[in-house]
Symmetry: C2
Subunit: 235 residues, 2 copies
DNA sequence: ACCTGAACACCGTTCAAGT
DNA sequence: ACCTGAACACCGTTCAAGT
């Protein structure tokens, strides 16, 4: 189909000055779509991200979205890539250990900021450019830090297993923050100590002690993992 | 297409007064519901688990399900608890290291057998009895193995982060098994080596070598993690 | 006690059409 | 080139009713 050549003048599509009150919408772009999707999902959760809700957020009819995106799955791919683009990549002047510590903490922080992200990872198989760029930079840090190729593979697998798994465990916690912890724990404690003695011990002697938060475990485990990586370096 | 009006003497179709040929259904139970749900999700994926599909699988109308289960969310909780019940818990006579190695391998194996499970964990906050029992037994193994209470907390957090994170990474792989790997990698290789040199190196010098499989990384990382746990034991 | 039909307020997506 | 309305084939769940 070719564009019909009709005689209406290109200028003044709607007579200027007599525009309707509604300001002319900025044309929809993938970036604006992605930003709106992130906003929805950060504030209202992954379940709230429907094509209809997203369309409303960018002030358009649902079907218009399909002009910028193949389908909903592609939006989810874009979301995951956006998350990877937020992870901070350390500068080259740092030691491998400092660099890996910084970026792994950044992974956890970003996954904490976008709590929907960890649940999305499992179903994504199309790595975006930010994701590939991220992995490449990480491998560079390791290779320069003296890891062999195979060693870097082992190290990266272990380090990311730790980062993702920790984020998953944080998402699984039956409370949202340290403040709610005691409520849950106390309602739990009686039942637990009876049927599950070791869980009860952990609860009373550790978890319910003042100052505890599961988040504190992250750095402890991370240092242990970083120690373990040493074995895969040659230099 | 209409019902065939059969005159076969096989059975009196629906003649009143006589019992219909259809054998009387076993009454629906939670266990039968759960088994049917696992079957659906194992064979057709999490998205195929709808209340309507589940109802059809147990030969009942959708609304009947709500007599045995509060809502779909409760079914998902049951699924996760069923997964935990499949994880093998080692006997008491083993060393802590052997015991933790066995059960962590079992976690990975079970999560591999039910590939939908890792994606479900993130959204579950109601631990079931099998889950609590599992955690209690694990803490018991550690305490008997000489871990302090705080040490057991550190160790369990690290060990499960590793197990879950590894399963998540396996689920994220852009191919389903080692056989498909080369197809993906080859289509990928040209693009990758150009824009992502370290990724390219990893691909050519390690991943695409004969005999590679990502799954092989599991044991390597697991031994490194088990080594790291030593620091939290007193005895 | 257990099961059901009809209905409600949603989904993602196709298709054909409008400018 | 970009947007739209109507429609289709689905969802989970409520309600009132059947045995």
């Amino acid at each position: 189909m070719t564009e019909p050549v009709h005689s209406t003048p290109r200028s003044t599509p709607d007579s200027p000055g007599r525009q309707p009150a509604r300001t002319r919408r900025a044309p929809l772009t993938r970036d604006r779509l992605l930003a709106a999707a992130v906003a929805i999902v950060d504030t209202r959760g992954l379940a709230a991200l429907t094509m209809r809700a997203l369309a409303a957020a960018v002030d358009v009819q649902p079907m218009s979205l399909y002009h910028h995106v193949r389908n909903k799955d592609e939006i989810l791919d874009l979301l995951v890539d956006a998350v990877f683009s937020e992870i901070e990549l350390p500068t080259d002047d740092l030691s491998w250990r400092t660099a890996l510590r910084l970026r792994t903490s950044s992974v956890r922080e970003v996954l904490g900021r976008h709590r929907w992200a960890i649940g999305l990872l499992e179903s994504r198989r199309n790595a975006g450019p930010a994701t590939l760029q991220h992995h490449d930079a990480m491998l560079g840090i390791m290779r320069r830090g003296g890891f062999t190729v195979a060693g870097a593979a082992h190290a990266y697998s272990l380090l990311d297993s730790y980062a993702y798994g920790f984020a998953l465990q944080e998402a699984m916690l039956p409370f949202d923050g340290p403040d709610e912890l005691s409520d849950v724990a106390e309602g739990f404690a009686a039942l637990v100590t009876e049927s599950y003695p070791h869980l009860g011990e952990m609860l009373h002697e550790y978890v319910m002690q003042p100052g505890y938060s599961f988040g504190g475990e992250f750095e402890i485990g991370l240092e242990a993992v970083l120690d373990a990586l040493e074995r895969w370096r040659t230099a």
